[in-house]
Symmetry: D2
Subunit: 363 residues, 4 copies
């Protein structure tokens, strides 16, 4: 119920600032008996970790996660799971200049207005550092879901003006380049584009897609906790996200009914414009979501802003930053999808475990 918590049965609560001693999380409601180790979490954290390529933030974090509770003899106990990542590489001095300045397109101004003051170092709580905990919790959720045949994979659909070509789509490419691009050719173009962008001192946006397969029919709690509404919540809560689509998303605006509807036959659905969710409930088809990430707000190019006294100032953000946040968002989006799906799997089971549908599921 608090702002730092998400989920109803499977819940994630987090803490931690960019330059504080540590980031942490408490995961509650995880089914017991699931094999779990720090290595399971570390894998996904490493995918997200800054410093892995020249295209991401040059801040080197070990991002080593420790499991402090909720796991015994290698399996989840069903009690709350505590996670901790110690911050080891903060370089406070990079940010001291902007202690009294509001960086444009950052949360500096609104945090000061909301709370009266803020931890100004590196964005404090508003920093993208907190996403490490989302990824760790997501890794737990993914493990539970995987045991049920549910798989979640994400990829970069578009970086600035460069869109992937669906005809060159190859899942195997996604982890082979620093962009999570399933299109090798596009990845090469993106690398060049990013180099130019870095020289320019600018940044650009991105579009990420996440796909969940093997999801059983029936997940989602109408009318307000529809699965798509909860996914939208979870995905929009990621730093820098400005749009969420399910299935065909905004393309449906100009679609006719006959074009949009996913007809059914005894052998299955004939299409998936709906993105796997109808009436707020999963159909058993792949769940497909897309998010739009705005260009990073930290740039070397100067911007006009004000300081705490309300005086006009020019702001230049030196230090280490991502020229494209999108590059790191793929594992985060996967994590949020996983957390939401697991929560709904448990909620559906809680209320409806005795249900016998009139016919077998289509998929």
């Amino acid at each position: 119920m608090s702002g730092n918590s998400i989920g109803k049965l499977f819940t994630l609560t987090t803490f931690g600032e960019s330059h504080g001693p540590a980031l942490g999380a408490i995961i509650d409601g995880c089914p017991p008996g699931i094999p779990l180790s720090e290595a399971d979490l570390q894998h996904d954290l490493d995918r997200r970790k800054p410093g892995t390529s020249r295209h991401t933030t040059q801040r080197r974090e070990a991002d080593e996660v420790k499991i402090l509770s909720g796991v015994f003899e290698g399996r989840t106990t069903g009690t709350s799971i505590g996670l901790l990542i110690e911050n080891t590489d903060q370089r406070s001095k990079d940010y001291s200049e902007i202690q009294y300045t509001y960086r444009p397109a950052h949360a500096d101004y609104v945090y000061d207005q909301k709370y009266g003051f803020r931890d100004y170092r590196g964005g404090g709580r508003s920093s993208a550092r907190e996403t490490a905990m989302r990824v760790a919790a997501g890794a737990i959720a993914k493990k539970v879901l995987a045991a049920r045949g549910i798989e979640i994979r994400g990829y970069l659909s578009q970086l600035g003006p460069i869109a992937i070509d669906p005809d060159r789509f190859d899942w195997a490419e996604v982890d082979q380049n620093p962009f999570f691009s399933p299109d090798k050719q596009a990845a090469e173009q993106m690398a060049e584009y990013m180099d130019a962008l870095r020289k320019e001192g600018n940044s650009v946006g991105a579009k990420i897609s996440v796909v969940a397969s093997g999801v059983p029919v029936g997940l989602g709690e109408p009318i307000f906790d529809r699965l798509d509404a909860e996914l939208a919540h979870a995905l929009m809560s990621i730093n820098a996200v400005k749009g969420v689509e399910i299935g065909d998303g905004f393309a449906v605006v100009s679609q006719k009914g006959t074009e949009h509807r996913d007809e059914m036959t005894p052998d299955g659905f004939l299409s998936n414009h709906a993105g796997g969710i109808l009436g707020g409930i999963s159909t058993g088809q792949e769940i497909i979501a897309h998010i739009a990430l705005k260009p990073t707000s930290s740039m070397r190019l100067p911007g006009r802003s004000i300081n705490q006294q309300g005086e006009a100032v020019e702001v230049i953000t030196k230090g280490r930053h991502d020229p494209c946040v999108g590059i790191r968002a793929t594992p985060i989006a996967e994590a949020m999808m996983a957390i939401t799906l697991l929560d709904h799997l448990l909620r559906h089971r809680g209320q409806n475990a005795d249900v016998v549908p009139p016919c077998p599921p289509l998929l």
Copy 2:
């Protein structure tokens, strides 16, 4: 916490099926002392009411709402407000054909899978009838917000292929045509387009925009209950919504950082690409959101589907239905925006009422 509830401090819980005796709602957490009457609610309900033009469902509902509690001597008491609308015009016989059939792109199939069976008449709980209660609750929220100078207005941005022209934008036009279009010329094109669509027996999607002005800075509860995440949740929970954008939405994907950022001066922000929300917190600028609505699933044009036995069938939906859901969604989107903003206004006040920011708000 349950699926039929939304909000943390200001909460809305609803019930009611398309063909049941009544729709109802309980609104909790409304600040006391607010003047409120049934007329306040009826105004917004009438804007949503079917049968008001040839372009909407020909089902005639009185949609007369009664306030059953929580108001005394014309003012809210602070206790829970019960609302009731009796269903008077259902025409059950229109739907009996599809009792054992799953209409494509409807929730029939998923409800049977999730719950084991369903009220098949008119979509049951999955019907858009339930939105009447959202609008009624939204009217209450709007009233409370209006007393604080916060105004919420929506409009149709696009109907199928017809987009409004920003240069012809006029708020006064919105309530002058059945489309909520702020562009009179576009409204005329839409009318023709809809007539053709109705003859064809098809449907089309729409894009709705909602704007909240006068919102104070500071609303939103990072990191998971960010204001944009909660708006996305509330808006995506509306029947037929497949996408949500805040501010520039998916346009940010190809924007550069220098283009996207809203610079600040002592006289205010220089732009509003962010749509009024930064770091998940309101900036004091207009909050701008857009939603994409899929084409109505009920159509006269036949579609392939299956029945409860898993046999292939052809489905034709006779009876009354909307060729474009978007025409009615504007008041619903306004309502969800209002409910979310009021909830956050109360939550922010609860935690931070003592805060004195270091400088006055920019707006």
Copy 3:
């Protein structure tokens, strides 16, 4: 999350004032497929209904409940269930005298302070009328639980100075007298005592006990949503309750460890001092709870108080009232026990449905 809501998966939200047009409730999360009719609810409501004996309030209410949604062809659909009871016998004129007066030991004063004003007629929202909805919702929960072999029964343990004699305990007596007393002899003494009390114009307290049998082991969510903590919450939320005990309750203060502990053998537990809950989780034994109800605040005997201007006044409550609230609380306590147990049954199932314990349950 709001004050008028209880439960996480199986939730109850209510509205309604003593002298408003109606009382209502929304029950969410009820498993689908359960046979349910208005008669099921009416039975428990009639047990609670005022006017059934000379010992209870002389206000005659039909207390006829209507089910407005969530039930189709005689079974629950899994969607939200709306309930309505219209208030038919209010007699506003009985209370107009105390419009500006604060009755001692009532909520008049605190409601005016909290909300700024109140519906003064008959206690408004603070009136015990709202408990009708708890009983109706409890009847639904009881039905779901009964299908799983869980039974909930309550009785009056003590009325003023008259305690029941455990040696004369007979469940069959409980519904044979207006007190819910399992001890016939005590019931006769209570009747005499109550007649004297009524003549005196005074009131007295009571102690109610509730027993749930057939509860499976494993319900309860440590550490904060322990089953006993949630039962305490649900029971203490009943109007006039000032104390809650589980099992031996306050008797444990002077018990030694060897006396208190419920030893186990291969044939079962040897005692039940714990009242069926250990470590916040059900053991499979009978769950036993007791509540203490304060004497009714409405009395003919004058009391000193103040009015809205802060002046000293004398208050005499005329009109119809209960000389002992306890007489009506038994079905309410049963209802709150049922609602809590069902919520936990679903929550436990949601998270732990796959668990295989190392040995069969003891019971």
Copy 4:
């Protein structure tokens, strides 16, 4: 919403097992700008710490708490506060004998049934170690409340057969003896009694009382989140609690209305049988609650039980344990009272900050 979380606006979520690496907590919703340091928390933790007298567990824990986030330059930021206490003294070997045995009156059996297995060392998650985090969070709440003139103090009312004498009540005595007894003479009797108990190898129960003064009128959210109901929840959630009373508690059963009611005069209330709460809302008087704690389950005296195979066994708990849990519960009960009051203070302010009551509060 999860079992390991409590509170709506001011929330506490915890993790940590008796023999895990650490205990932790996340506190969310704390108002910003409150001065806070580790020393503030350590003070209350030291009051609770085992090993401080011969009468408590001989397990020596540093119980040193670290604040990992949510505090900047000595003040709370309004973002989530992470706390950590590392476990340093566990002595696993003390518990290995009972790995496959169910200790009577412990949670061993129910945890195995609920989750399929458990961390058997020292009670795992069911151990009283977790209360350290409640106390730490309570210290934060107390600080915020103290700034508003609200003070919370607890004391031991009764240990086994030894009750304090109200005529010898002295608040200054409470922190002068290891029992939190306000009656010096009783404390001496308790010491002798405890020595005998320890020799016997047995344990005994206790009754703790908590008093909150300076509480403003108006806290509590009827009808389900009444302040007394939420206090009952919070207090009953403490390990070993079997009963909760507000004000006169179970004594009200035999009180007449004229005896129980707290009459009002222009100078204030004439008594406080209600314990500071009426209609579920604080009156402004002292809030008084009492809890009953059962005798410690860990004893040297053998008890009959079963093992995981269902065979009869005899259980002797060696190692370090509390012969009377009550001795340590006083700071824990204070903490739960503080957490609940702060949550309600924020909730009330959120909804009702604009309320102007018709007259000034009585107190």
